[in-house]
């Protein structure tokens, strides 16, 4: 018991602990790497043309528009919250961007208007949650999800807007050398968010809030402004994803990106971010993007219908969350050890 208490206390409190080979290889990330290797091995055996550089780059272009939203969503889930409105935010901001362009506003300005729209959507979610902390983010974003998509369909009904300038298509289809622009953007974004989460005060505070908002608030963290910032970020990056998606499709419709929130949340949760908050990292999330993305691509290659893919992604989401919980329920009163160890740590101080 004493041993267990100590180890879990260090696990929670200290950031730098001594290296242990066993712990190093027991990390969830290795599991993801293994899954990725297996999926790619299967893909290679399915299609001889799969394993060339250009093909893999094209495959990645298919799913990276979702990946853009995954990193801010990881922050949201680390907080112990959830944002279901991201797909609707994407739809609304791309629709408003399209309409601005149709009304004669030059494309760069229209893009900025689209980004502002997404930021505003995220801000609305955030401000409601900060002003009413007793409301769960689930129900708030569930209703804003309907509202944002609803506004998009009021504006555009069932029509679509297209005919964007040719340079706009470069976002989705363009390449630097032989690497797609969207991949470069995602890598930079991942590095930015990894830095933000692992190397800044903001990141440490996010972890703290995910463990306990109340304790964080009493220790002097401005919980409201952190929550607001994270939700606004999510809105902004949803809008950026919408720009890439619109560029790839060449037109915008109000029903664009329907159901994306499932894939996005599944990627975050599969990446080892605990759905109740406070635990997870960017590396795992990035690996999970590749796992789900290549899985979808491979299944599409062998003509598995999108309905079956839907089942697999849904099941993957549930299983990814269930595995750690299952371990914990076997491990007995883990939550009790956690609680008592936190308490002891506080007493020592």
């Amino acid at each position: 018991m004493g041993d267990a208490t100590n180890s879990s206390a260090t696990r929670i409190i200290s950031a730098d602990r001594e290296f242990s080979i066993r712990r190093f290889f027991l990390q969830w990330e290795w599991m993801l790497v293994a899954m990725l290797l297996i999926i790619n091995a299967v893909n290679v055996s399915l299609s001889p043309n799969y394993a060339n550089f250009n093909n893999i780059m094209n495959a990645m272009r298919d799913f990276l528009d979702k990946a853009i939203v995954v990193f801010p969503m990881a922050f949201v889930i680390l907080l112990g919250e959830i944002d279901i409105s991201v797909a609707s935010t994407m739809a609304l901001s791309s629709v408003i961007m399209g309409i601005s362009y149709r009304e004669g506003i030059p494309m760069p300005t229209a893009i900025v208007i689209g980004l502002l729209t997404g930021t505003a959507c995220g801000f609305i979610n955030g401000i409601v949650l900060v002003k009413f902390p007793e409301l769960s983010s689930m129900i708030v974003t569930l209703s804003t999800q309907i509202i944002f998509r609803g506004i998009a369909s009021i504006l555009l009904e069932t029509k679509s807007v297209g005919g964007f300038p040719t340079w706009f298509g470069k976002f989705g289809w363009g390449k630097v050398g032989s690497v797609p622009i969207i991949l470069l953007f995602t890598i930079v974004e991942a590095m930015f968010f990894a830095y933000l989460l692992h190397k800044t005060k903001f990141g440490r505070r996010t972890y703290a809030m995910g463990n306990s908002t109340t304790v964080s608030r009493f220790s002097g963290i401005k919980t409201g402004s952190i929550k607001l910032t994270i939700f606004t970020f999510t809105g902004l990056f949803s809008a950026i994803a919408a720009v890439f998606l619109a560029s790839k499709m060449g037109s915008v419709r109000p029903d664009v990106a329907r159901g994306y929130e499932l894939d996005i949340i599944a990627m975050v949760v599969l990446g080892g971010v605990e759905s109740s908050g406070g635990k997870g990292n960017i590396l795992g999330t990035a690996l999970a993007i590749l796992v789900i993305g290549f899985l979808r691509y491979g299944l599409g290659m062998v003509n598995v219908t999108s309905q079956v893919i839907m089942i697999i992604v849904g099941a993957l989401l549930v299983i990814a969350v269930a595995i750690p919980n299952f371990k914990e329920s076997i491990g007995g009163a883990n939550w009790y050890i956690k609680l008592t160890s936190i308490g002891k740590q506080f007493n020592k101080r």
Binding site: I82, L142, G259, V321
Partner: protein
Amino acid sequence: MNRLKRFFFANIREISSILVIILLSIFVEYRSGGNFLTVENISDLLTETAILSILAVGMMMVIITGGIDLSIGSVMALAGMIGTTVLKNNRHLSPLTIIVLAIGIGILSGFINGTLVAKLRILPIIATLGMMNVFRGITYIISNGKWVMQADMTPEFMQVASGKIFGINNLVVMAIVVYAVGYIFLNFIRTGRKIYAVGNSEESARVSGINTVRTIRLAYTIMGAVAGFAGILYVAKFAVSQGETAVGYEMNVIAACVLGGVNISGGTGRVQGVLLGALLLGLLNNAMPLIKISSFWQEAIRGLIILLSIIVNSLIQRNVEAKALRRRNI
């Protein structure tokens, strides 16, 4: 007089719901030029709302435990699809068999959701979001992309939804029965009270000897049963069953619960409130086309109503708590 006053304050939420319904009816009657308060339209409204209100009872129990079920639209589609596919291949089966089959499928799906949430401790929203896709995918696979059309269903089966008892539509009668059972279950049966206890504080409920895992699982199982039942009524009513049946219906049901004063963080909610919430939502759905609001607006308005009503709910709650604090000081 004192007793009347106490009754008024104990039921203030229900009374204000009724007031809103009356005011809204007068407004719509006025704006639509007398097309609203006709016997025909009112019976239409009740029939349209019946399935929604049946589902709201189940959803209320899940929300009281502090959870949510996003998979019910998919469970409805799955139960409807399996029921009608079986009926299509065995036309001699009676409607009752099909309904029992659909409820059975609903129970099974609800049990899976409940196990994931209660036993494996997955957050309800994530578990049911995942299962929503699983059930929907299975529906597509069973349907094989085809629709089960009116011609494939027997007349007796469709009679379930369109028939009348004493001049009242069957669906309305069923909704009344479901509400009566739900009212008794949640107010007078021990298991029903346990649901409230678990919702108020899972920890205290466990300490006082309630099997919380079983209680939460039961709430989801009941939700599944109700969704299976509603699903088969839904396909009987519209005489068509397809992969897209009841997509997004869960939002309507959650809206009805929230409008009915069910606290989304669990613990509180009353059957009579949910009934009024469902009626209010049904009234809005029925009235919007009558006063010529385009169907494109309805979605956004519905979302706005949910958001506003949860905000108003929590403002009322804060007010109540502040008053209680002040009273204790004196």
